[in-house]
């Protein structure tokens, strides 16, 4: 019996001792970093802020949608089933499981969650420059919410922490007005702390925040507030129009004198991930609009013949407008005019217009690695010309209109476009309003604003084939989100 006792106690000892600890897990065993290890150094915060910028790059398709959904361009592509998500938007057969819209939804919310994670942990460390750093965070959160509210209207709204698995299905859609209110708060807070310049190009500045807030006010039809806000950007004289319109869109023109806010892309860290092709450092929006199977010694590289400008857009430009050839490339005309380039290309197989998006056409030597995924072209998100045109509109539509100021701003833009003052406008009131809207189309064509401008100004139904008032002002909430989170769908979808 003694032996039994010994063995039994030995066994019990083995069973009891340290057994629960044996199956505990600490991520440090695998050298993995968790939130417990973070927020101890300023660099932890700075690094997370860089991560908060990252989803801006993933939103490459938002400007593409802004033109395809409008009268500016068609989807094109290889056939009717190529880029189905964009074809639906083009044809106004949009269904709620649209992959492009789902991607935008997810990307914006990822940006918001990244910003919220910084918000959640703001109090853990104090360091010099922290407030200014958080100015960037607030700007970015406002930017992501603004994209959401433009695309979808009412959207779930949360700001205090990064959501976890247990927050799934907790939130419903907040009214658009609440979302706009949060955007205004964030931008106001950002303006208060952001510097006017940064040593690193592409970092958010006070002017960028003011310009964005001016734009947000315009979308809310708060013209007085918009005019006042945009005036901050103009009156400081920090920006000037690039004399030669075409230079803006060259690599050398990135972050130039007219650049208020640009989403930065790069070919410096080649990306290869076809599983998530739009989430790298390159601008996939450039690859999609390229000319198919292009050969010869032109500066252009080939692409997928998507987002093709319409003849309608081409005809909107008047004679002498230098912006036309910068905005649109008529490939056949270009080929004929430059026989020495030995150009051959494949005619766009589907919805061919013969025209290409010259502002963002892929160019040789501007990509790396997996060539389709790494074009370096920044998106010129807010240009000074846009600020001038927005300010013109705000002043023209303000409670006490200032058409003189409005005309001076719009004519600055036109003088650059025509190279002279002969094409200056003179109208006032509603005539001027129309003229400003028309000018916005020409100046900002293929930069992603057209659809949202048409909706904002109530012109969409008259300008866009297939657009239904009361339905197409916003896109459908992704079906997956409706299925999982039980959100209400937008009317008509």
């Amino acid at each position: 019996m003694k032996k039994i006792t010994i063995i039994a106690s030995f066994t019990i000892f083995l069973m009891g001792s340290s057994c629960n600890k044996f199956v505990d897990y600490n991520p440090h065993e695998d050298y993995q970093i968790t939130s417990a290890d973070y927020f101890k150094l300023p660099s932890d915060y700075q690094s997370l802020v860089i991560g908060t910028y990252s989803p801006l790059q993933w939103l490459w398709a938002d400007p593409v949608i802004g033109d395809i959904a409008s009268d500016n361009s068609v989807t094109g592509g290889e056939n009717a089933t190529d880029e189905v998500g964009l074809q639906q938007i083009d044809d106004y057969t949009i269904v709620s499981n649209n992959s492009y819209l789902t991607e935008s939804w997810k990307d914006c919310y990822e940006g918001i969650n990244r910003a919220n994670y910084l918000q959640e942990n703001k109090g853990k460390l104090n360091f010099t420059g922290k407030e200014a750093l958080y100015g960037q965070v607030y700007f970015l959160r406002a930017y992501y919410y603004f994209e959401l509210v433009k695309l979808f209207g009412d959207v779930p709204l949360f700001t205090d922490h990064r959501l976890t698995v247990s927050d799934s299905k907790k939130y419903q859609r907040a009214p658009k007005a609440d979302v706009y209110k949060q955007i205004e708060t964030d931008l106001t807070n950002a303006i208060a702390v952001l510097p006017v310049t940064n040593t690193e190009k592409g970092r958010v500045t006070k002017y960028a925040a003011q310009a964005l807030l001016g734009k947000v006010y315009l979308y809310e039809n708060k013209f007085d507030a918009s005019a006042a806000m945009l005036e901050n950007v103009i009156s400081n004289g920090a920006f000037s129009l690039v004399p030669n319109f075409g230079d803006i869109f060259l690599q050398a023109g990135e972050n130039g004198s007219e650049s208020v806010f640009e989403i930065q892309y790069s070919n410096g860290s080649p990306f290869y991930d076809w599983t998530n092709p739009g989430r790298g450092q390159g601008n996939l929006g450039v690859q999609v609009c390229g000319i198919r199977n292009l050969t010869g010694s032109s500066p252009y590289a080939s692409g997928w013949s998507t987002n093709l400008p319409t003849q309608d857009l081409a005809k909107a430009f008047t004679t002498g407008d230098k912006r036309k050839d910068v905005t649109i490339l008529d490939i056949e005309a270009y080929k004929t005019a430059n026989p020495g380039l030995n150009i051959t290309y494949q005619v766009a197989p589907y919805k061919n217009t013969g025209l290409y998006n010259q502002k963002y056409l892929p160019r040789k030597g501007e990509t790396s690695g997996q060539v389709e995924l790494n074009y370096l072209n920044n998106n010129r998100t807010i240009r000074y010309a846009d600020v001038l045109l927005m300010a013109a509109e705000a002043n023209n539509r303000a409670s006490s209109p200032n058409d003189t100021k409005a005309l001076s701003y719009i004519n600055k833009v036109r003088q650059r476009a025509f190279g002279d003052a002969n094409h200056n406008l003179t109208g006032t009131g509603a005539t001027l309003t129309q003229a400003i809207w028309a000018e916005r189309r020409l100046e900002l064509a293929m930069e992603g604003d057209r659809f949202f401008d048409l909706v904002r100004t109530g012109q969409a139904a008259t300008k866009i084939t297939g657009f239904k008032t009361g339905r197409n002002e916003v896109f459908p909430i992704p079906q997956q989100e409706i299925d999982i989170s039980g959100l209400n769908q937008n009317p008509g979808y």
């Binding site: 044996f22 199956v23 860089i50 056939n79 990822e110 990244r114 959501l163 860290s269 599983t275």
Partner: protein, 1053 residues
């Protein structure tokens, strides 16, 4: 032909010489070993003489160990069965002989010659099988277990142990792989989960994995038990969910003279059949047609001089050698036993031959046991394995086979263009993806070297009678070093994969590179348990076990690659000699490590009343390191009942000798997840996840950022599986027939699955959660017949039958897609609610459009022209689009059968084994279908005009496939059902009287053909295509199983 024969013969001859050399060396070595063990036995007092014979055959038995239990002396019978031993009246002699029942003989009269007859073991009645943490008499088992014995395994000599289960163990589905040494798909009772279906492997009580079966020498294996139902697997708790393969290796026998076994075989492997591709003239004609239809020019103006061209399959497939030699010794003395083995197995690959793909394994095994005291026993099993392997690219678009099938048949084998680089020719037509397979083989350089040490050290302490304490430490240490070299290659001037120019100079921006990795794995299981067996009132028998187990699995790897190997040569391929530098991305490093830990407590009570009523309870409490903080431990209980009807008094049926009815229920688990936590990742990209965190500020280099990359899930738990099993075992007609039948149902709840979380949570990786449910049901059955028809003729045949019906019953609508293949780029298999796991997903076809009118009247199918495939509008919305994709096949068989037959007639023995798989579909994915790649013979029956054909397999041929006829559809699905004569063997045992040499006690020679005949409708090489849940049955040019002709020798001495 004659030359080939000569070569083969001389190979065989050389090989036989090698064998003899090997044998001599090994005999010497072993001789020395034996001498050290057995220098004993002296004579004294009275000598008893006797003769031993086989009761059934009357043959004299030589080599029987005769032990006097009183004096502890022993001797062996001579070749006439005679022996003499010191003994006195009343002494008990114990006689032992392999295969015969151990016999006790009490000495009555020392003066008389003792005539002793030994009987064959009554295997069916006394057989004991290995279960978790113990053994059980087979008649007392109330769970579901299939067992394979060493005799079968030794005959088959599988390179990997799991191959022995194919068709031989009911309830087990094995889909073999043709590539030397590669793991098979093994499913025990279907597919319960998508996260992995590999059963747990337990070798001598030590947990290993299916991957580890590459290192076990088949000659070491005594038995393989497959535990299938909850009653038998619940003792393995959270690891038992996919079934358990319990392997027991051989051990020595006490008081037995050494018995040696030497076996050697040599075989030639060859491709069983080719795939029909176009010859050069046919190819040129079809390419001309495709070009003309698409508005292009005639590409081959003159077909007459092309002839048949090159069939690249002839070039890449080689006859390859298969060799195996093993020598074992087993025996034991009074206090110790031993089993020693040394083995070599070498299999060359038929793709490219043994230079490029091969699997060479060396094993040694030392299984020892010592009685340290009367009560304390030490068991030490130690095996060491060295494996050297090389592989060629396989089962992908870029595989050697894919290149051979799709490459240009009009070019000659060798480069005949003066002044250009390269040994083999290039195609000027095919400019991407596909290239000369011989160049590819030439440029294939890789090797891995694996050293593995595994075994156990076990102490058994007999505390009191019937109560035994066991403490066991089992371990597996594996060290793998690999190297591969990607040289600069020339596939043609305009070929996009070329990294050399035609003059042999390097293309700008191109580099060769060498990759090296070093992986280390260490697993241990430390277990302590008590077995207590007791009988109360003679009729109530209890067998109990209670114990604990701690297990840890660790793995780590470090790898690196470097560009610019000198002279573009394998001879210099090493990181140390390459010259690439880090700033030019010329060097890269990789690392990973992982760990798993489990702690468990388990117990089992087996009770029987007069071996008539059987009851068993098992429970295991398991803690796993992988699970969330709220769910570290789980409990897995099971119970089973059995009733031996034939033991009842009222039982009068004379025909049925034995009948047992069984039933069991219980729970097991699955822990195929890794620990989850909220992780912060710093970097630019996270590949395949998309959770990138880099950004660019102006012209500065890309900025590295951080973000949360994964969510935590503290509630994460195991998959819980409930299994029900009912069955019976019976023997009838004088035990000549036996039948075993089981019906089972497995239901998984808490299936580990990717949950559907609100999209507004963002893009961080969603952790697995316990989401879904699945159900599997089926039948395992076997029927056997054994009879000695007369003195000369014995027959033994067995038929196995296995079905498994799998269904995913709930997954929150989530879908796991996999089975990605590049033609076209999309996933082909799915794990989805309402369907069988891993089913094929794509369009259904409905013949071909014959006329434009037919197209106009059909659901809208953009770009279709007459002669294109008509797809089925599955959802009926009048439009053919992605929503019309549906189930088009299932790669897993509806049922499988195995039929083995062995006949012994006098000195001859014959055995055959047939394996049948019914209902397994195959997706034919090796057809590349680029404009200029070679085509398959089906294209000759293509649509050429209205009414020519309506077969969706043969649409019109054009370069511009606007209808996308090559989209994933049932056009590429084939019925892969097959019947294979897997093994056929004829042996001859040389009668002992024919050789004077007294050394040997048995010599058997045999000839064997493996994969001799395959009956199937499948048009590819081989309908057996392994690949786990998601890649089984997708033929991307899979490595076919070779037909193997071999000859061998087994001897005992």
């Amino acid at each position: 032909m004659g030359l080939n024969e000569n070569v083969k013969q001389s190979q065989v001859f050389n090989h036989v010489n090698d064998c003899i050399m090997n044998l001599k060396v090994k005999l010497m070595f072993l001789g020395i070993l034996i001498c050290s063990f057995f220098l004993q036995l002296n004579a004294q007092s009275v000598k008893l003489s006797g003769r031993v014979k086989n009761k059934l055959t009357g043959e004299a038995l030589s080599g029987v160990t005769v032990l006097n239990t009183k004096s502890h002396k022993s001797t062996l019978t001579d070749e006439k069965g005679g022996f003499s031993i010191q003994a006195e009246k009343g002494n008990v002699l114990i006689l032992t002989y392999v295969g015969l029942a151990t016999l006790k003989y009490t000495v009555i009269d020392v003066a008389q010659i003792a005539e002793i007859a030994m009987e064959e073991e009554n295997k069916k009645m006394e057989e004991v099988i290995v279960i978790g943490y113990g053994t059980q008499k087979v008649t007392k088992v109330s769970g579901a277990i299939s067992t394979i014995k060493s005799a079968d395994i030794e005959k088959l000599k599988p390179v990997r142990a799991e191959d022995a289960l194919q068709g031989r163990a009911s309830g087990v589905n094995v889909i073999s792989s043709g590539s030397p040494g590669t793991k098979a798909t093994v499913l025990i009772r279907g597919i319960p989960s998508y996260s992995g279906a590999d059963p747990v492997v337990v070798v001598d009580g030590v947990t290993q994995t299916l991957d580890d079966l590459n290192s076990i020498n088949s000659a070491d294996i005594e038995t393989i038990s497959v535990l299938k139902d909850a009653a038998t697997t619940a003792i393995y708790g959270v690891k038992g969910g996919n079934g358990v393969i319990v392997i027991t290796t051989k051990s020595g026998r006490k008081n037995n003279k050494p018995e040696f076994n030497f076996s050697s075989s040599y075989g030639i492997q060859q491709l069983a059949r080719q795939i029909g591709v176009l010859n050069a003239t046919e190819y040129a004609a079809i390419v001309n047609e495709g070009s003309l239809i698409s508005g292009g020019n005639v590409i081959y103006p003159d077909l007459s001089k092309l002839g048949v061209g090159t069939n690249w399959q002839d070039q890449i497939f080689k006859n390859a050698a298969m060799k195996s030699h093993s020598i074992t010794a087993r025996g034991g003395g009074e206090k110790m036993t031993y089993f020693l083995a040394a083995a070599y197995t070498g299999q060359d690959g038929i793709v490219g031959g043994g230079d490029k793909s091969y699997f060479n394994r060396y094993n040694t095994t030392t299984n020892l046991s010592f009685d340290l005291t009367d009560k304390l026993k030490l068991v030490s099993n130690t095996s060491f394995t060295n494996i050297k392997g090389g592989t060629v690219a396989e089962n992908s678009i870029n595989s050697v086979i894919s290149n051979a099938l799709n490459f240009d048949p009009t070019v000659p084998v060798y480069n005949n263009i003066p002044g250009t680089y390269g040994k083999y020719s290039v195609s000027n037509n095919i400019l991407s993806e596909i290239y000369n397979p011989l160049t590819q083989l030439d440029d294939t350089h890789n090797q891995t070297n694996t050293n593995k040490l595994y075994g156990k050290i076990e102490l058994q302490y007999q505390v009191v009678k019937n109560l035994k304490f066991t403490s066991r430490y089992g371990y597996t240490y594996t060290d793998v070093a690999g190297k591969s070299f990607t040289p600069l290659s020339y596939y043609g001037d305009s070929h996009i994969n070329s990294t050399l120019n035609s003059d042999g100079s390097t293309r700008s921006g191109s580099h060769n590179s060498v990759y090296q990795n070093h992986n280390n794995y260490y697993n241990y299981t430390f277990e302590n348990f008590i077995n207590y067996n007791v009988k109360i009132n003679h009729d109530h028998a209890f067998e109990t076990v209670l114990g604990t187990s701690m297990a840890k699995v660790t793995g780590s790897s470090i790898s690196g690659s470097r560009q610019d190997v000198p002279f573009n040569s394998w001879d210099f391929a090493d990181i140390s000699s390459a010259t690439g530098i880090a700033t030019n991305s010329g060097i890269s490093l990789g690392e990973y490590k992982y760990e798993r830990r489990n702690i468990s407590f388990f117990g089992r009570i087996n009770y029987d009343y007069k071996e008539k009523y059987l009851v068993s309870f098992t429970g295991r409490r398991d803690g796993s390191y992988a699970f969330g903080t709220k769910n570290k431990f789980g409990f897995f209980p099971s119970a089973s009942l059995g009733w031996v009807v034939s033991s009842e008094k009222f039982y009068k049926l004379k025909v049925i000798d034995f009948l047992k009815i069984r039933g069991s229920m219980g729970t097991t688990g699955n822990e195929n997840v890794t620990p989850q936590f909220q992780q912060i990742t710093t970097g630019i990209y996270m590949y395949n996840v998309g959770q990138n965190s880099g950004y660019t500020f102006g012209n500065n280099p890309t900025s590295v950022g951080s973000t949360i990359s994964t969510y935590a899930n503290d509630a994460l738990s195991w998959e819980k599986q409930k299994q029900l099993n009912v069955g019976f075992d019976t023997r009838f007609l004088n035990n000549k027939f036996n039948i075993s039948f089981d019906y089972y149902e497995r239901k998984i709840s808490g299936l580990l699955f990717v949950p559907s979380l609100s999209l507004y949570l963002g893009t961080a990786s969603v952790p697995s959660s316990n989401v879904g449910t699945t159900k599997t049901s089926g039948i395992d059955a076997s029927i056997g017949f054994t009879d000695n028809i007369n003195k000369n003729l014995k027959i033994n045949t067995n038929l196995n039958f296995t079905t498994a019906k799998n269904l995913v019953t709930y997954t929150n609508q989530g879908i796991i897609e996999d089975g990605y293949y590049g033609i076209p780029s999309q996933s082909i298999t799915r794990f989805q609610e309402g369907y069988a796991p891993g089913y094929f997903y794509g369009y259904k076809t409905a013949g071909l459009f014959q006329t434009q009118d037919e197209i106009n009247k059909s659901p809208t199918q953009s770009n279709a022209k007459p002669g294109d495939i008509k797809y089925v509008d599955v959802n009926g919305d009048g439009l053919i689009d992605a929503k019309d994709r549906t189930q088009i096949g299932n790669p897993f068989p509806k049922f499988t059968m195995g039929w083995s037959l062995s006949l012994t007639y006098k000195a001859f023995d014959f055995s055959s084994f047939v394996y049948i798989s019914v209902g397994n579909d195959i997706y034919r994915a090796y057809e590349r279908n680029l404009a200029m790649t070679n085509k398959f013979r089906g294209v000759l029956g293509r649509w050429t005009g209205p009414g020519s054909t309506n077969d969706a397999n043969n649409p019109r041929y054009t370069f511009v496939d606007a209808n996308n006829n090559t989209r994933a559809s049932d056009r590429y699905i084939e019925d892969g059902s097959f019947a294979k004569l897997k093994d056929v063997q004829l042996g001859y045992t040389v009668p002992t009287k024919l050789y004077k040499n007294k050394i040997f006690s048995k010599i058997r020679v045999y000839a064997q053909v493996k994969n001799a005949i395959t009956l199937t409708k499948y048009s590819g090489y081989d309908p057996e295509i392994s690949g786990g849940i998601f890649n089984t049955g997708i033929d991307r040019g899979a490595y076919p199983l070779a037909r193997i002709y071999s000859m061998g020798l087994d001897c005992k001495f």
